[in-house]
Symmetry: C2
DNA sequence: TGTACATCAGTGAACGCGCGTTCACTGATGTAC
DNA sequence: TGTACATCAGTGAACGCGCGTTCACTGATGTAC
């Protein structure tokens, strides 16, 4: 609980975003309620309107913060793998999953809340930055493939994005009654490994 | 509009399921409303309780019907590919995407509504049947791989499931403002192709 | 340092709404005689 | 074929609820003098 300083909250805007993220994580994007977020921040629902235009604007801010963290993590992972294109690529894939696991509320707000990335110019920009890292990694990776059997770089990044997203949605959520047959990290690691062999970028015996 | 036969509806139960599917497709699993489904079926909300225990029970029935169709399609696709393990495997992957595209309401009810497959024994059984087809296909496929470099069959099916699901969620939905860089069918086809090469089941020059 | 005042973050009551669910009821249907 | 009756699918009114949002307000904060 954030310490209240008497009448004024001090940092209500961020407290509301944090509460929203927690609720989105717990109840899903549509189970999330403006009133409940306000209550959790120790404040009347009406107070929310001092900081946000409404419910959707609050979700949008949560998604925006998520994209910012996500983009940073992806860039960090990419740089960590440099100068090897392969290492950078694998590193960003791992970072994707790590982000989804560590920031589930942000992840849901970003990808399942129904908020369009075009909702705000800022949102479009920062989501483009995150996706751009993945595409750059895929692009540099593709350069190592003979041109005549090289798939478009954007297709490679789309494949990996889909695989990451699928692993997150199906196997990384702690849905009750759903037992994952393998740890999601292993699933993603091995899936990407097989995929990279298929591209001819890893030797068959590695 | 279903033709009403006077006072009694005739087939209200199925009409409600159909309305629910249409609404789930249009508004998402949580945007779906029991009252609205009743209205669309030309009936008072209270009438729903003659056929279902409540809102969740209605969604559950929609998901159940979806799993049944899904399992049938997967089995059909599997059989069509026989006796080639490879052809069966690719065929089921295609069937997965085709199902998601053709029955989006069912797909959402099944995978995004928050209904657990353990909600009902029937539901668990029929969802197991659908998933079983994919696992069988993966298992037979794995038999063609030298044992020392063979990943577990359940891992292979999990990879493909994740890839299919990711493609559906990210690229097969007509989300406004989201333009898919490639047709989802191409994306899945090429992704599975590369994956199978990685498993050594397709020759590099094919 | 002390006072007057403008600012503006948060209050609390109210709104209209649609939700899921219940209940006693009604009247169409189909069966028994 | 015609009548009496049991069944039960659907009605319509009502409920309590929590939602997002609005509004006039209040009182803590910080600045100007």
């Amino acid at each position: 609980m954030v310490k209240k300083r008497g009448y004024h909250h001090g940092n209500l805007r961020q407290a509301l975003v944090d509460a929203a993220l927690q609720l989105i994580e717990a109840k899903g994007p549509t189970g999330f309620t403006l009133s409940e977020a306000a209550k959790q921040a120790g404040v009347t629902p009406a107070a929310v309107y001092r900081h946000f235009a409404g419910r959707e604007d609050l979700i949008s801010e949560a998604a925006l913060q998520g994209y910012a963290v996500f983009a940073d993590l992806m860039e960090y992972a990419y740089n960590k793998g440099q100068p090897s294109a392969l290492a950078s690529f694998e590193s960003t894939g791992r970072a994707y999953l790590a982000f989804a696991c560590k920031y589930p509320g942000h992840y849901v707000a970003m990808f399942e809340s129904g908020i369009s990335v075009n909702h705000t110019p800022e949102l479009a920009q920062v989501s483009g930055r995150a996706l751009g890292v993945l595409e750059k990694a895929a692009s540099e990776l593709s350069a190592n493939i003979p041109p005549e059997k090289r798939p478009p770089a954007r297709m490679v990044s789309a494949h990996i994005w889909a695989l990451c997203h699928g692993v997150v949605e199906l196997f990384a959520r702690g849905a009750p009654g759903t037992k994952s047959p393998f740890p999601p990290e292993d699933l993603l690691e091995s899936g990407i490994g097989i995929y990279l062999r298929g591209l001819g970028l890893i030797k068959p015996d590695e």
